[in-house]
Amino acid sequence: MALFESSLDPKQASFDTVLGSGLGFSHVVLRGQTLRIVDLEGNQAVDTLFFSAADPSERYSAVDTIREQGAIYLSTGSPLMSTEGRVLLNIVADTCGRHDTLGGACAAESNQVRYAIEKKYMHSCRDNFLLEIQQRRPELSKRDLTANINFFMNVPVTPEGGLDFDDGISAPGRYVEMRADEDVIVLISNCPQLNNPCNGYNPTPVRILVW
């Protein structure tokens, strides 16, 4: 697992914010700009979707990304492919080493299946996505919420076809950076999940920067 650092200076960033866990976020990243997500305290899952700003019906596609790179995990060099077979962004730096795109987002309803019927009340990533798009992205709806990226999350898949949620391999201060090939809307839920080790059972803030 090769790690690649970035030379970009946070002091020079044009956008810089800290997003607490359990919050949604969206932002337009312009073509040529670089987006960095920093796992401030370690082992946080950052559920992320991308949409072409020009035509949001074209969006990040996990299955096309996996197939075209011939590998399940995302890291430096992974092109983030769209549903139209085009590259939306490229991962250009990564000090974590592996990111998931099969585990999807938690939701009230899937939490009931995975943990217990009575867990429905608990906060979830899909609720973050839905509130963010209801409030700020009227061009998007539930139809647009498909298999996302989980930055910093560790979901190992075995050659026998098994899949698990493991303790994270991230650590405080690790980051991932991607450069946009076109104008994209980034939609993020900073995961509030308390029922599995994807956040180390302790959801924490992340920092989001754009250059």
């Binding site: 299955v63 590998a71 399940i72 099969l102 999807g104 899937s110 898949v157 899949l163 949620f165």
Partner: protein, 240 residues
């Protein structure tokens, strides 16, 4: 297994290159057969009564701790319900993580294959096929998610690198789904984009729909993990 004596509702070929769709009523079964072997049938699933609810690949995988589909597994919707159960499978592995090909890939791989020249032997691709079929129900690109690719096996190594497995599905391989909701099933039968064969040679498949045997309390799909027990409970609650 479905009762063979029961009258078939659908019993027809799915030709190479063809797409197909139907609403399976709750309790009906769909059996797909890869007649020649080496087939690849891509599928999308929706709650026919409210198509905003649809097959969710990540929820299906993480609920059952799987990275492939086979007998005993179920297909989850994004609303925590079971759309279909996989009640039997002689193939052992159906892919759901590598998507389908599109017109651009088809042209690059197989060369031109237009209708003007080839008539109904033209090179159809599953992206376009599924979009056409979705359009018949008012669904569109935004409703296009991860497919189940029946009869396809793409296996990861320890580092996550993927390999397409040749000759995975033997002639006559069958997979049978039992619909646990009123499920719109949309199918497209074209070669998988990772199949290295350079000639466009989609394989013929066969579709059979009939009423399934009712699921018993010890049903294999329901009992395969506690998550599925809850998934079935939530599905029953939706219909009660």
């Amino acid at each position: 297994m479905a009762d063979e004596s029961k009258e078939s509702i659908v019993d027809e070929p799915l030709r190479g290159g063809q797409m197909w769709s139907r609403v399976l009523k709750r309790g009906q079964s769909l059996r797909l057969t890869d007649i020649a072997g080496g087939g690849s049938v891509a599928a999308l699933f929706f709650n026919a009564d409210q198509p905003l609810e649809r097959y969710n690949m990540p929820d299906t995988l993480k609920a059952q701790h799987i990275a492939r589909i086979t007998a005993g597994n179920v297909l989850y919707s994004d609303m925590g319900r079971v759309l279909c159960s996989v009640v039997s499978d002689s193939c052992g592995w159906h892919d759901t993580i590598t998507g389908v090909g599109d017109a651009k890939q088809s042209l690059l791989k197989y060369g031109a294959g237009d209708y003007q020249t080839l008539r109904n032997e033209w090179h159809r691709n599953s992206r376009d096929n599924l979009l056409v079929e979705l359009g018949k129900y008012g669904l569109a690109k935004r409703d296009f998610g991860a497919t189940v690719n029946f009869f396809v096996k793409v296996v990861p190594d320890a580092e996550g690198k993927l390999s397409w497995v040749p000759e995975h599905s033997k002639p006559g391989s069958m997979v049978e789904l039992r619909s646990e909701m009123n499920t719109l099933v949309v199918l497209s039968n074209t070669p998988h984009p990772l199949d290295p064969t350079l000639n466009y040679t989609p394989k013929i498949a066969h579709i059979a729909v009939r009423w399934a045997e009712p699921a018993l309390p010890d049903d294999r799909c329901r009992r395969s993990c506690p998550e599925n027990e809850r998934g079935f409970l939530l599905t029953e609650a939706y219909f009660s």
